[in-house]
């Protein structure tokens, strides 16, 4: 297995595509870092992550696609490598490449933005949480790409399916998140029409506010299903990381987990309550650190399915 991983890595590292990918990831990381350093911002940009993710997926598609296109997968199987080992070695090599691209894109971005943005606005705990969410999401997306490559076995088709899968995962995460964001109740101002004796005419006067059930709120059992789907989607980890590393322009103190928790509590009881669903917001900002366990579990299941399919299917 180790020997196969080494061979796969060597094949990919000595390919011109690797240098191109490294260059692209590094450039995007540096350019995004410079923007943070000189222009300033209050939120983390996902651009370096996307650059790293795209290069990692392309590297996986070409690395695995070449094995099928050139027929060299046969050499491995003929000399006694079993199919699960071949799949896992390709997966491991793709994940290692993913880590390389991730570090190349994110490290310069983070270092350049640390003095003016990250270090000033966020605690180390939040930054680590954000980093873990981004890193794991990227690795899981790469593992999904590897699964697609083994099922499709064609470079061009794999790229198309990977793009469609990425769009599907992103759209579903955004739409699920929007649906789940609504609180069960909302507060609406109650306006009454009263006669104004001074002016001798009717006037609108707000006298109170009323708590009413919100129609958009997703109720059980659909809510649980949607919640589960959201947690299984690695893109929700990326969205959560982007929400965590986001500051308010009126904030003076460094943003911390405690502060986020207090904000969530306000949504439940304080001013602005029922603006959004407090449980969902708390989940996506505080408990999201467990999201990778869900999406990771789904990816492991997908990998097992991929291995079984590859093992069962004939190789030509």
């Amino acid at each position: 297995m180790l020997r196969l991983i080494k061979i796969n890595l060597r094949l990919r590292i000595f390919s011109p595509l690797f240098l191109l990918g490294c260059g692209a990831a590094l450039t995007v990381g540096i350019v995004s870092g410079r923007q943070v350093a000189y222009v300033g911002t209050l939120h983390m940009t996902p651009t370096p992550l996307f650059a790293a993710l795209i290069t990692a997926v392309i590297s996986a598609v070409f690395g695995i696609g070449d094995e099928f296109a050139f027929g060299t997968v046969r050499n491995k199987l003929i000399c006694g490598v079993n199919k699960p080992i071949f799949y896992l070695s390709q997966l491991t090599a793709s994940l290692i490449m993913g880590v390389i691209f991730f570090l190349l894109a994110e490290v310069p971005y983070f270092l350049m933005g640390y003095g003016s943005f990250f270090g000033k606005l966020f605690t180390a705990e939040l930054l680590v949480r954000g980093g873990v969410l981004l890193g794991t999401a990227m690795l899981f997306c790469t593992a999904i790409a590897v699964f697609i490559c083994f099922i499709v076995r064609n470079r061009a088709a794999s790229l198309i399916v990977c793009t469609a899968a990425a769009a599907g995962l992103a759209l579903s995460a955004v739409s699920l998140s929007r649906s789940l964001r609504y609180s069960e109740y909302e507060i609406i101002p109650v306006q009454e029409l009263r006669f104004n004796p001074d002016l001798g005419e009717d006037d609108l006067v707000t006298v109170d506010e009323k708590t009413v059930l919100r129609e958009e709120y997703v109720r059980e059992p659909v809510r649980t299903v949607m919640y589960t789907a959201l947690k299984l989607d690695p893109v929700s980890s990326i969205m959560s990381a982007l929400d965590i590393i986001r500051a308010d322009e009126f904030e003076i103190d460094v943003r911390s987990l405690e502060k986020i928790e207090a904000e969530c509590e306000k949504l439940r009881t304080g001013i602005g309550r029922f603006k959004k669903d407090a449980d969902y917001i708390r989940d996506s900002l505080v408990n999201s650190v467990y999201y990778p366990l869900w999406s990771g579990g789904a990816v492991i299941l997908l990998t097992v399915i991929g291995v079984l399919i590859f093992k069962k299917r004939d190789t030509n």
């Binding site: 027929g71 997968v73 046969r74 050499n75 006694g80």
Partner: protein, 307 residues
């Protein structure tokens, strides 16, 4: 006899289609086993199954006496090399780089032997030229060199001369003969170009519609396809006596017909038969070739390329 590969009732189904239908074959050690069959007969499928690329739907096979379901089969597979359909090489690499990858895959401690192998297949001077720019023959030879990495003693070649020019065909043929004679490598080679196969094979397996219809050694085949004369006489006992007297090799194929091998003067035979009171009714010269033998076996016309 020691066998490198043995299959028993080997079956491979693709949904309802049976690509292999109970093939039982034996490849003796040190032989060049020619797998003969028309396109779609099941030759490539058989090789894919034997190489572990595809799982059999039924039956079994063993390599060096190890059953395919045994865990030790991986070790047996390491003793074989194969080129199936098209050479499995990285087109974006040079010949030497391809060899290095295969050496690493096999866990060979050093790259010693790569130059010798490339020299053996006539690719020692390709330098930095990428395999993408190789001719079909060169790619085929590189595929064989890759298959030869790790010094296997069993080589499977599926249609290795397909699409090659005459020069390429000669090169591949000489290479296979060299490997068989000098390195005692057992070769299982499939082809539908029988004239080429007849220059190499020591054993034949005739495949049709997924079934092995005949397994025969080249020696036996030669006996069956060599020049002969079919004679029809009024008395086969008299014919036997005459042929014994003349010291000729023959066989009786019916109660009125006999097959005489070698060349014989018809006048001499007629006179001798007359002396025995036997009448010579018809004489037919038969010069059966490998192609006609194969066609006789499977039936049909133009089933193989004869070149």
């Amino acid at each position: 006899m020691e066998y490198v590969l043995q299959t028993k009732d080997l079956t491979k189904r693709y949904r309802k289609y049976k690509a292999l239908d109970g093939i039982t074959m034996n490849v003796p050690k040190g032989s060049v086993y020619g797998l003969v069959g028309r396109n779609g007969a099941g030759k490539t499928t058989l090789m894919r199954v034997v190489c572990g690329l595809q799982e059999p739907s039924g039956g079994s096979y063993s390599i060096y006496g190890v059953d395919y379901s045994d865990r030790k089969i991986a070790a047996s597979r390491r003793r074989m090399g194969a080129v199936i359909e098209k050479p499995a090489i990285y087109l974006n690499m040079t010949a030497k780089q391809n060899m290095k990858v295969q050496y690493s895959l096999l866990g060979l401690p050093s790259d010693d032997g790569i130059d010798e192998l490339l020299d053996l297949v006539g690719l020692a001077d390709t330098g930095k030229k990428k395999a993408r720019r190789f001719s079909l023959g060169m790619k085929q030879r590189l595929g064989i060199a890759v298959a030869l990495a790790g010094s296997p003693d069993f080589l499977l070649l599926d249609e290795p001369i397909n699409g090659l020019d005459p020069q390429g065909i000669v090169e591949i043929r000489e290479l296979i003969l060299k490997l068989s004679r000098e390195q005692n490598i057992t070769v299982l080679i499939s082809s539908h170009i029988l004239s080429e196969l007849s220059l190499l094979a020591t054993h034949y397996g005739f495949v049709d519609k997924g079934r092995l219809i005949k397994e025969i050694s080249a020696e036996e085949l030669e006996k069956q396809v060599r020049k002969s004369m079919k004679v029809k006489v009024s008395d086969t006992r008299a014919l036997s006596r005459v042929l014994d007297k003349l010291g000729l090799e023959y066989e009786m194929i019916s109660d009125s017909e006999g097959k005489i091998y070698g060349s014989i003067s018809v006048t001499q035979l007629t006179t001798a038969l007359m002396d025995e009171g036997c009448e010579l009714l018809t004489v037919t010269e038969a010069d059966e070739s490998l192609e006609s033998y194969f066609i006789d076996l499977v039936g049909g016309e133009n089933v193989v390329e004869t070149h």
